[in-house]
Amino acid sequence: MKIGILGNSHVASLKQAWDRIGADHPTIEMVFFAHRGTQMSGMQAVAGKLVPDNPNLREAIIQVSGGRPEFDPAEYDAIVIYGLGASVFIFDEEGPYSKKVMTIAAENLAKNNVSYTLLERLVGISSKPIYIGHNPFIAAYGAITHEGAEKYLASVERLNKLIYQPMGARLLPQPPQSIVNGDKTDPIYAKGAPGLRVEANAQDTRYPDHHRLHMNDAFGELWLGQFLPLIETAPASTSAKRRHPKSRRGRPD
């Protein structure tokens, strides 16, 4: 099984984890396509592929993917869009907001980022199963409580019904065991987080220990540990039927 992963700097934790555990999954191949920040928004749908619209992005894609200048969904059995600003609105029925405004805010939050832009473009050119991994929660600072992640997990399911399922995609939750304080990441997963290396001959870099936005390879391992059994037991042919208006007929790849 071949998996294409599109992302930004957050992808580095998955890449490092995969370098460590990949050998344990000999039937799976993973190829990464990434650039920093929001630059992946330059991946345009052209003739059934996502093609960089500028030389800088093209260089990064070639470097990260090991020589591929564009992303061709036809080559992959499943696609992951990771990071790229995807966020989860946590619905709180006891909170200060009406259901209506929470639903609209959740939609606004889910759609106003590069992850959703790429999802729309992919849905228009491919019928391959697409999984969304959102930006990890910021690492907790100060006191930590092992408050349950029930509201978060319920919110992920709600977003799937509201937004992702109708597009034939699936939002995956952050591993619950990595969550503290209800909506933060346990800071042990932020220590020594790797930077995304997009330039040829660049040195490996790590974020300083006080950094809270990016996660380390241990987190990546947790995330893949949750994702891989899912992909291994759910063949592409059983993926959700896509109902995106722009892709009533997915490209026959």
């Binding site: 209506k100 405004v101 929470m102 106003n112």
Partner: protein, 354 residues
């Protein structure tokens, strides 16, 4: 020797107005307080008050928002759901009696009436009829939401260094048996009009004055150090129920509100008045600040007024360490895009649009 001999230029029409370029007539305000960028400023009141909060924020001042929107809500939807329009999601507080009603709910001196309105698509809050497009899912949700707003309104009163209030209307609608006031006449944007229960009151000077005094008294009990800045909305009435021509009714209403504001300003060192009403409405400016309907204030007009506000602060107290320079065209462009939330304007759609 007479008292006029040593007066400054601004005291003489010829020197201060007639001999000057219209757009260089200033300063029209001598501020009583040096508002610092870090000072928390709460804004409430009529439609025009909405611009003050935005103008403060655009110039690096601390517009205090005590009822924040949910994360991720787009700016357009924030406005639609009345977030970041005023410091809390009260909707427009047009009259001093409505202000008194809100303050008394916030202080616990009274509680909101049980009345609810059933809209076509949901439950409408009679006291904030436009804050939730389509209405709330249930009465419980509506009451919970209003309680959140009342708490946020109270937090604003408690924490603000400055409370900016724009007086908008004298015409009001009250529930006779309940003794409470609606921001909008029932049956216009929502609800059902009942002539046996709903009564029109065009408030006089004393009524407006007493309600404002009572409101400020209650607010001061929550926050002794708070200072007030009053403005009068320059926006004419959309419609009047006073039996007068709407132009005459507008002049009555604004004159009363202006007189009350002036009276308050003279009375207290902790109360100031900013003349946005005069700047927009004075014949000196030859109607330059209105849209073609002669009612809505243009983005240019709003920007002119707010620039004047900050220029007067600088003129009296000097430049700020990080001066909030006018962003002129950029601010005007932003304002022209923003939809002003003015429930009263909806009267036009419910009887006045002829």
């Amino acid at each position: 020797m007479n008292p006029y001999e040593n007066l400054p230029n601004k005291a003489f029409w010829k020197l201060a107005v007639a001999d000057r370029n219209n757009f260089e007539i200033e300063p029209l305000w001598t501020p009583k307080f040096r508002i610092m960028p870090a000072d928390a400023v709460a804004t409430f009141g009529s439609c025009f008050a909405q611009h003050i909060g935005n103008a403060l924020q655009d110039r690096g001042f601390r517009w205090m928002i005590t009822e924040t929107p949910p994360a991720g809500l787009s700016p357009k939807n924030m406005t639609a759901f009345n977030y970041n329009v005023f410091s809390a999601r009260t909707g427009n507080i047009y009259t001093t009696s409505l202000l008194r009603q809100w303050v008394s709910w916030a202080t616990g001196e009274s509680t909101p009436p049980d009345e609810v309105w059933e809209g076509k698509d949901g439950i409408i809050d009679p006291f904030r009829p436009r804050v939730e497009p389509g209405g709330f899912e249930s009465v419980e949700e509506m009451r919970r939401s209003r309680a959140v707003t009342i708490d946020a309104f109270r937090a604003g009163l408690e924490k603000a260094r400055y409370f900016v209030f724009t007086l908008g209307l004298t015409e009001s609608w009250v529930n006779k048996s309940g003794g409470y006031e609606y921001p909008m006449c029932p049956g216009t944007v929502a609800g059902t009009f009942d002539e046996t229960e709903h009564e029109f009151v065009n408030q006089d000077f004393l009524t407006v004055y007493r309600n404002l005094a009572a409101s400020f008294g209650m607010i001061r009990r929550l926050n002794k150090g708070i200072r007030f800045i009053l403005t009068v909305s320059p926006v004419p009435l959309t419609a009047t129920n006073s039996d007068e021509h709407v132009l005459v009714a507008t002049m009555y209403s604004k004159s009363v509100l202006r007189a009350v504001a002036g009276q308050f300003c003279q009375k207290g060192s902790a109360i100031d008045y900013f003349p946005s009403y005069e700047i927009i409405n004075s014949p000196v400016f030859r109607n330059a600040f209105f849209e073609p309907n002669q009612r809505n204030v243009s983005a240019y007009g709003v920007n002119f007024v707010m620039d004047h506000f900050f220029r007067c602060l600088v003129a009296k107290y000097g430049e700020y360490a990080k001066p909030g320079a006018s962003r002129g065209a950029a601010v005007a462009a932003k304002m022209s895009k923003a939809d002003e939330v003015c429930e009263e304007a909806l009267l036009e759609a419910f009887g006045g649009a002829k």
